[in-house]
C-alpha cells in the first residue's frame, strides 16, 4: 500500500466517523443528565432531510447545517414533552421517535430524491493544506470535522470543569438529591435532551451534505443505533467517544476497502459484527468488577422523574 492510498483511506475513515461522533456526543450529554433517548436514528434522519432541503433551496451550507440541528432539536423537544413533562416511558417514547423520524423524513424528502447538492466545502488553508500527507490528513477537511473534534473537547471540559456541567451530572446521578438542593431537574434535562437532538440533527446533516451529498430514504442506515452503542462503548466519557467513533468508522471503511480489493478472508459480515460485539464486551467489563463504580452508567439513566411536591 502506498502513501497516497493510505492517506485517502484515513480521510475516508474520518468522514465516516464524524456523523457518529456528532450524534453520540449529543446522546452522551443527554444520558449524562439521566435521560435515555433511543430516538437518535429518527433525529439524525430529520436532521439529514432538513439540512438537505434547506441547502438545496437556499444554496447555503451554513443554513443547511443550522436547519439540520433545528430539526433534531424539535424532535428532541417532542421527546422531552412526553418523557419529562408527561413522564412517559423513555424506551417506548424513544422507539416511537425513531419510527416517527423515519416516516417524517421520508415524507418530507420525497421531492428531493435524486437531486445532488454541492458537497460541504473542504477547508483550504494556503500553504498548510498543500503540505504533502499532513496537508491532506490534517488541514483539508470540511468545517464539521473540526467542529466535531472541538465539540468533544468542549463537552469534556464542560462536564468536568464547569459548575453547569457538575449540576448536569448531579441530575443524572441522583435526580432526587439534585431536586432537594434546589435544582430544577426537569428544566436541566430539557436542555440536555435538546442539545442531544441538535447534535444528532447535525450528525444527520453531515450525512446528507458531506458524506454522500444527497438525500436517500433511511440514509442513516443504522448509524443512530451505532451512536447509541458508542456512548456505552465509551463508558460515557467524551475522549473515549472520540476514539470509539474513529474506531467504529475505521472498521466500517476498512471492511469495504478490504472487500473491494479481495483481501478479506472471512465473510465481510464477520468484520461488520465486530463493533457490536466489541460494545457488548465493553459493557460486560464496565458493568462488573472493580471498574464498575468508576465507569458505570449515570445512576438515574432512564428513570422518569417527577418532583414530589
Amino acid at each position: 500500500m502506498n502513501d497516497i492510498m493510505l492517506v485517502s483511506l484515513i480521510v475516508t475513515i474520518i468522514t465516516a466517523a464524524t456523523p457518529l461522533l456528532l450524534a453520540s456526543l449529543g446522546e452522551l450529554v443527554t444520558e449524562r443528565a439521566g435521560v435515555l433517548n433511543l430516538g437518535v436514528e429518527g433525529m439524525m434522519l430529520v436532521g439529514a432531510v432538513a439540512a438537505f432541503a434547506v441547502q438545496f433551496t437556499t444554496g447555503s451550507a451554513i443554513l443547511g447545517c443550522l436547519a439540520g440541528a433545528a430539526a433534531g432539536t424539535a424532535l428532541a423537544f417532542l421527546f422531552g414533552v412526553l418523557t419529562l413533562t408527561l413522564t412517559s416511558n423513555q424506551v417506548a417514547t424513544g422507539l416511537a421517535l425513531t419510527i416517527f423520524g423515519i416516516g417524517l423524513s421520508a415524507l418530507a424528502g420525497s421531492g428531493f430524491v435524486g437531486n445532488p447538492v454541492a458537497k460541504l466545502p473542504q477547508l483550504n488553508i494556503p500553504g498548510l493544506s498543500d503540505l504533502p500527507v499532513i496537508g491532506k490528513l490534517v488541514f483539508h477537511h470540511d468545517a464539521l470535522v473540526y467542529f466535531s473534534i472541538a465539540a468533544t473537547f468542549a463537552i469534556a471540559w464542560f462536564l468536568k470543569s464547569t459548575r453547569a456541567g457538575l449540576i448536569l451530572r448531579a441530575v443524572g446521578e441522583s435526580d432526587d438529591s439534585a431536586h432537594s438542593i434546589g435544582y430544577n431537574v426537569i428544566r436541566i434535562r430539557y436542555f440536555a435532551v435538546m442539545f442531544g437532538g441538535a447534535m444528532c440533527g447535525l450528525g444527520g446533516a453531515y450525512l446528507s451534505l458531506a458524506y454522500t451529498p444527497m438525500w436517500v430514504e433511511e440514509m442513516t442506515a443504522g448509524r443512530g443505533w451505532i451512536s447509541l452503542a458508542l456512548v456505552v462503548f465509551a463508558a460515557w466519557r467524551p475522549f473515549r467517544l472520540l476514539a470509539g467513533a474513529y474506531l467504529f468508522g475505521g472498521i466500517a471503511i476498512l471492511q469495504l476497502w478490504l472487500q473491494a480489493r479481495g483481501l478479506l478472508f472471512v465473510p465481510s459480515q464477520v468484520l461488520a459484527m465486530l463493533p457490536y460485539l466489541a460494545t457488548i464486551i465493553v459493557l460486560v467489563v464496565i458493568s462488573s468488577g472493580p471498574a464498575r463504580s468508576r465507569l458505570g452508567a449515570p445512576a438515574s439513566l432512564g428513570k422518569p422523574f417527577r418532583a414530589s411536591s
Partner: protein, 358 residues
Amino acid sequence: MRFKVEQRRHIPHALPWITPVLSFICTLVAAAILFAIIGYEPLGALYQLFVAPLLTVQGLSELALKASPLVLIAVGLASGFRANVWNIGAEGQLIMGAVAGGGVALIFYGEEGFWILPLMCLAGIAGGMAWAAIPAFLRTRFAVNEILVSLMLTYVAGLFLTMLILGPWKDPDGMNFPQSRIFSDSATLPTLIEGTRLNAGVLITLLVALAGWVVMARSLLGFQIRTVGSAPTAARYAGFSRSRVVWITMLAGGGLAGLAGVFEVAGPIGQLIPKLTPGYGFTAIIVAFLGRLHPLGILVAGLVMALSYIGGDNAQVEIGLPNAAVGVVQAMLLFFLLASDFLVRYRIRRVRSAGAAT
C-alpha cells in the same frame, strides 16, 4: 384559579382502557390533518387506511397474517416489561428463530414428513431463546444493561443471516441472489382458507395470547413477575428471585419471537431472504404498550397496528399515499397513547388561589 397536577390514589378501572381508544381517535384527527397538508383527501385516505382492508376476505386474512407476529412477540415482551426487563432485541431473536427453523427446513430439503414443521417450530423457539439468553445471562451474572445488549445482538443477527444466505445456504439455482432455496411443501405452513395466505400459525398465536393471559393473571409465576416489576422490595421480602424472573421473561420473549420468525419463513415468505421483517420486533414493542402489556389488549393492539400496515399498502396502491405517511401515523398513535398515560396516573385539579380562600 390555578391548576394542580396530583398523583391519583385510585386509578378508575376503565381509565387505562379508555385512553387507548381516545388516543386512536386523536390519531385519526391528526392523521386527517397530516393527509390534508400533504395533499390527499383526508377522509378518503383514512377510509383506505382503516376501513377498506376490513371489507374483503382477502383483506381480513392478510390482517390476521400481519397481526400474528406482532401479537406473538408483544405477548412475550410484555411479560418482561411488566417485570422491568427491557428486551428490545426481539427483531434479532426473530431473525435467529427464522435462521434455526429455516436451517431445519434446508437440512431436510426435499424430504416429506409431518414432523418437519413441528421440528422447525421447536428449532425456531430454541434459536430465539438462545439469542435472548445472552442478554439474560449478562444481566443476571454481570449486571449488564439488557436494553443495549439485546439491541446490539439484533445487528449481529441480521449480519449472521446475510452471511448464511450469501454463503453456505445460498440457493444453488438462485442466480446468485442472496436468498436460500424455497422451502419444500412439508416445510411450509398449511393455509386455512383456499385462495388466501392465512396459515395455521395464526391459530397458535391466538392460543399463545390466551395462555399468556392465564399465566400473567392467574398463576404464581405471573404474580411474581408483576411484583418484581411493580414492588421490587416487596418481591425481595417475599423471596421471589429476580434473576429467575429475568431469565423466564427473556426466554419467553426470545422464544416467541423465534417462533414468529419461523411462521414468517414457513408462511408468507417461504424461504430465507435478507430482509425477513419490516421491523416486527420493534413494532411489537409499540403493540405491547398499546395493549397495556395485557395479552388480550395486545391482541387488539396487534390488529390495529396490522390494519395500519395493510391499509397503508392499500392506500399506496389506490390513492398513491406514500408508505412513509403510515409510519408517521403509527408513531403518532404511540405518542398520543404515551401522553394519555399521564392522565391515567395523574389528575389535573382546579384549585382556588390562596387569595380567594381567605
